[in-house]
Amino acid sequence: MDLSSINPVLLVASLMVAATPILLAAIGELVVEKSGVLNLGVEGMMITGAISGFAIAVETGSPFLGFLAAALGGAVLSLLFAVLTQLALANQVASGLALTLFGLGLSALMGQRYVGIKPPPTPDLDIPILSDIPVIGPILFGHDPVLYLGIAIVALVWVMLKFTRAGLILRAVGESHDAAHALGYKVVRIRILAILFGGACAGLGGAYISLVRVPQWTEGMTAGVGWIALALVVFASWKPWRVLLGAYLFGGITVLQLNLQAAGVAIPVEYLAMSPYIVTILVLVILSRDKSNAPASLGRIFHASR
């Protein structure tokens, strides 16, 4: 075992990369849940985003078109969920599960021709002087644009929810859809928009895995990241900045266990690979006591009787 082979600067830099898919998916889901909808289909939307992004990036040679397609793919899949739960008033838990099962199958079908192909590389931002600063440079300025986009989305969501009228309306719909409806807000329309946003974010997160993090396509490659993102929203008690914190925590665990695997620690690989999931459970246990921040209408079906 050689722990000195783990470079702390690279560790932090790769932690941010590992955290970004979870971050993107979780911040999208946060907005969805704030509007009072529980979409358990994050995993399905992520994997659909992962393959649509990968396919378009390979076909066009442009990773940015790929990310755009991923957001679109995730949003289109989430539209199915929106139709089911908002228009057909189906159970949200069951619909979310259906979305995940369907997404996993669909992505496997779409991805057949793309196994074993390398996607075009996503260029890192290379800011001449800043990126060359030791330690801080690679950590803060040496990443690809999508990583910064993720952080920017967190900031925007925070501003939107806290300081704007749109955020207030969104929260009102999530807290009490009947009251919001009585005030004349279009509950269903607002929720559909939130679901689409969540889908687009999850799609981006998925594409980040297939285009930057891994980068290649394998079936079922999201391996539960979508579910971890769902847990993260609970962990963050529906607060945007805590999503960022949580995502980096999970990213850290993932990267650390990979580094420990590489360093040849005496713990078998399988047990190290379990650790992110076990940590998720532990975190859920510690934080589940306090549900006071959960949107009051979360998961409830809205039906305007008049």
């Binding site: 369907f102 539960g224 847990a231 999931y277 998720t280």
Partner: protein, 359 residues
């Protein structure tokens, strides 16, 4: 303008009709999907739904129906109890793996002892493995209010890693020339779950039928079953009626885990034969579709599992004969759940045309 009007009571007729309609809609859109993939849709649908039952080689495929259907029935029956009460066990796949590991572990420990009690002990082990794995989310939910959906699902990934570790390590066949995977339990007469391989009968099939009867009696003739239904339909009323939610959570998750564990054990000791890295094939997730398609009703689940088993077998035939990708069947199954959920609106609501009023 189209408006939905809530029915005073869910419509019985629609409740029975929606699964059938959903299957027809899935066939239609599945056919379209196959056409997009460049296959003849009529031929593909016929290969999936007709050939396994009445085709030229049906004598070979029909027994497979029991083999694939049994684990689906076992798992879905367990899940349906919880789903009825609003307790969501999504991690049946993990409980299935743990049941298989515990049961097979006991069997392998006795190898090569020839005794009648080996298999019963394995059954107990399998049930215990699945039950114990499901008790983790159950106890966490009761004690800390943790979301059982997320915990049970996370445990699937943990179980998959354990499975990999076991088939490469502790349970590896010492005479397997270094290949991953355990001894083949089918070659160990005291440990196999087969009754007759020719007609697809193994103890899992028997257990599945017992589970259906057990669930039917429980839900219709027993107080506990009434409490389960009451909690699902009216949680507040249930609390006033003295239903203890904690007990219900432990029972529903425990039972579904136990049944999933049994399904895993019967599979590993029969059709699969050995513990290997890719032993689990997603029955735990497909069973969720089966439970819904069967309307969470024991007899419905039996029929739904038959249909899903048919798509598995038909899918395999279509794969080898028409070159249909394996994932297409997965999409097909997912689609079925979508249509079912969407059409269910007709069970609970009436569709009315109404002129837009001025507010």
């Amino acid at each position: 303008m189209i408006v939905l009007e809530k029915r005073p009571q869910p419509s019985q007729a629609w409740s029975l009709a929606t699964p059938v309609l959903a299957v027809l809609a899935t066939m239609l859109f599945g056919g379209l999907l196959f056409a997009v993939l460049g296959k003849n849709p009529v031929e593909a649908i016929r290969t999936i739904f007709w050939d396994p039952l009445f085709g030229e080689f049906a004598f070979y495929y029909r027994p497979q129906l029991l083999v694939k259907g049994a684990p689906l029935v076992l798992i879905a029956i367990g899940l349906s109890l919880g789903f009825k009460a609003g307790i969501w066990n999504i991690g049946a796949e993990g409980q299935y793996i743990m049941g298989a590991l515990c049961g097979a572990g006991i069997g392998l420990a006795f190898y090569p002892l020839d005794a009648v009690y080996v298999f019963p002990l394995m059954v107990l082990g399998g049930a215990f493995g699945g039950w114990a794995w499901a008790m983790i989310p159950a106890i966490l939910k009761v004690r800390f209010g943790t979301n059982e959906i997320l915990v049970s699902l996370m445990l699937v990934y943990v179980a998959e890693q354990l499975l990999a570790s076991m088939s490469l390590g502790l349970l590896k066949n010492p005479e397997g020339f270094g290949f991953p995977g355990s001894r083949n339990l089918n070659e160990y007469a005291s440990a196999t779950s087969w009754i007759s391989q020719d007609i697809g009968m193994h103890w899992g099939v028997v257990a599945a039928f017992i589970a259906v009867i057990f669930a039917y009696v429980l839900l219709n003739r027993h107080m506990l079953g009434f409490h389960i239904r009451l909690t699902g339909d009216a949680p507040r009323a249930a609390r006033f009626a003295g239903v203890r939610p904690a007990r219900l959570i432990l029972f529903c998750l425990g039972t579904s885990g136990l049944l999933a564990g049994l399904a895993g054990l019967f599979e590993v000791a029969g059709p699969a034969g050995q513990v290997s890295i890719d032993f689990n094939v997603g029955y735990g997730f497909t069973a969720i579709i089966v439970a819904f398609l069967g309307r969470l009703h024991p007899v419905g689940i039996l029929l739904a599992a038959g249909l899903m088993a048919l798509t598995y077998i038909g899918g395999e035939i279509a794969q080898s004969q028409l070159g249909l990708p394996a994932a297409a069947i997965q999409v097909f199954q997912g689609m079925l759940l979508f249509f079912l959920l969407a059409l269910d609106v007709l069970t609970n609501y009436r569709i009315r045309m109404r002129m837009r009023e001025v507010a």
